[in-house]
């Protein structure tokens, strides 16, 4: 059974159709990538799947259950986590606290426990702290644990977003351009990181412009163009799809290089 199924999903912003009847499904346990030129509707699709936006029409199913129109926190509770293209780190909190917020749903958070600091709360907090520190080590952020997030360099913030999303131990992880703005070395590091994340971990849906990263990581690629699904399939087929090449050749020479190289 597919993990996520999207049926005829559409979203208009004041008459402009950002997404125009998109249908696809994602198999569990694999790395999927979503590509397409700027303005193709990738981030809109992410926002619909994570409940940040409500669709104009269409339905979304997660693990067989309809989730259309649920708020973000409800989708998070079902096991969907995400990162943001424009960083959404909690800047005035420490790096460890950022990751602890990622653990929110697994923590003891009943009011009386929080007010009284009950033993169950202390235990949950201690365990969460250990898990957060383990994640920070795995992502090479352990030396920043006590630092306020706003003191971190850009590349570290990108990794912090991934750490926070992983802290929720999600079933489906949506990554919105994890390598955007990173140099070649940082991109390679993120590629390594994502490979290890995907191994035995969550199902991943990745939006990325770096074609080399996409072709290396993804087992299944969705191509969006003008709010429609242009093509989908394994990387080797997408790479040779004349429609995809056409869409990129039209306006996106630089990414075409990536496709050609990949």
């Amino acid at each position: 059974m597919s993990l996520l199924e999207v049926q005829h999903l559409a979203k208009s912003f004041g008459g402009v159709r950002a997404l125009d009847g998109v249908s696809f499904s994602l198999d569990a346990g694999r790395v999927h990538a979503l590509i397409g030129p700027n303005g193709a509707g990738k981030t809109t699709l992410f926002n619909l799947i994570t409940g940040m936006l409500a669709p104009t029409s269409g339905r979304i199913f997660f693990r067989g259950q309809e989730v259309t129109g649920l708020p973000p926190e409800a989708l998070a509770a079902l096991g969907i986590a995400r990162t943001f293209q424009n960083l959404q780190v909690f800047l005035d909190m420490t790096v460890r606290e950022n990751v602890l917020v990622g653990c929110h749903l697994r923590l003891e958070r009943r009011l009386h426990a929080c007010l009284l600091r009950t033993p169950s709360l202390r235990r949950a907090e201690r365990e969460a702290r250990e898990r957060a520190d383990r994640l920070l080590r795995e992502l090479g952020l352990d030396r920043y644990a006590e630092a306020r997030a706003d003191s971190l360099p850009y590349g570290a913030l990108k990794r912090l977003e991934i750490a926070r999303a992983l802290a929720a131990e999600p079933v489906l992880l949506l990554l919105d351009e994890p390598a955007a703005g990173c140099n070649e070395r940082e991109t390679a590091e993120i590629g390594e990181l994502l490979r290890s994340v995907a191994r035995g971990g969550p199902t991943v849906l990745l939006v990325e412009h770096d074609m080399r990263l996409v072709m290396n990581l993804a087992e299944h690629i969705l191509v969006l163009d003008h709010g429609r699904l242009l093509a989908e399939g394994p990387p080797e087929r997408i790479r040779r799809d004349p429609q995809v090449i056409e869409a990129y050749l039209g306006r996106h020479g630089q990414v075409t290089d990536g496709v050609a190289q990949g």
Binding site: A81, R82, F84, V89, F90, L111, C114, R117, A168
Partner: protein, 313 residues
Amino acid sequence: MDGARSRLLGLAILALVLAGLPLTFTNSFWYDVAIHSGISAIVCVGLNLLIGYAGQISLGHAAFFGIGAYASAILTGSWRWPAELALLAGLALSGGLALLVARPILALRGHYLAMATLGLGIIVSILLNQEIRLTGGPDGMPVPGLVLFGFPVRGPLVWYALVAVSLFIVTLLALHLVDSPIGRALRAVHGSELAARACGVDSTRLKVLVFVLSAMIASYAGSLFAHFSGWLTPAEAEFMRSIEFVTMVVLGGMASTFGAIVGAVVLTALPQFLTVFHDYEHVVLGLALVLGMIFLPRGVVPELARRLGWRAL
């Protein structure tokens, strides 16, 4: 210094100050001022959770204070209920009313809670003034002395002790809450509401929770106030009292529990000692608010702590 250690240090200092203060009191006037300051501080510690951490303003907290006060006054006076039960009834009434209003309002983004609490506060204040048979109207009503579990709370020292212990407990609970998953989640919402919700934080529910909690704390303080003063008038629940509570929190320091206490104590005690300035009271209060927001937008205590390199609690 990590959260738990600075919390313990702060609480230890608070306990020392609360225990040591009576040694400096030379007459009952000092006790009176200290007890009133302590009661305001209890309200402000609760209100600070709402303003400083949930990022919402209540312009009607005096109404919850008034509901607690009048619940105690009417139920123990006219209805002969035990004081504990009357106090609990006040808590239930305040909490219930807060929940009723906040649930729909806090589902909206923006400062609608400020407007709704403003309306609610004035309605409660008008009710207290007009329901003369129940409340005695603008002239007020008498309140029986407080008997807690068979022990009469009488005399300045006993009253001081009760208020001090109450303030200490409320502060302890507030500090726990701030350093718990709920407090962390609220700070996260302040940083990026979208990201917090993507982490599973139900921001609306948390804001409602904190609002209801702060209303109940105000109600508790109101009950204490009613029994302590022995005579209750609707002036305690009017709009300007709500504004005074907000001023105390904001000047002391939003998102700082000890700041809220300092703000409450200073703004309650100062007018008592500066009676010559009575005519200028509003001028000073207004100026303090405007200048405070311009020059110390984070409040006195957090600003001091920052300059001294401490972690503000």
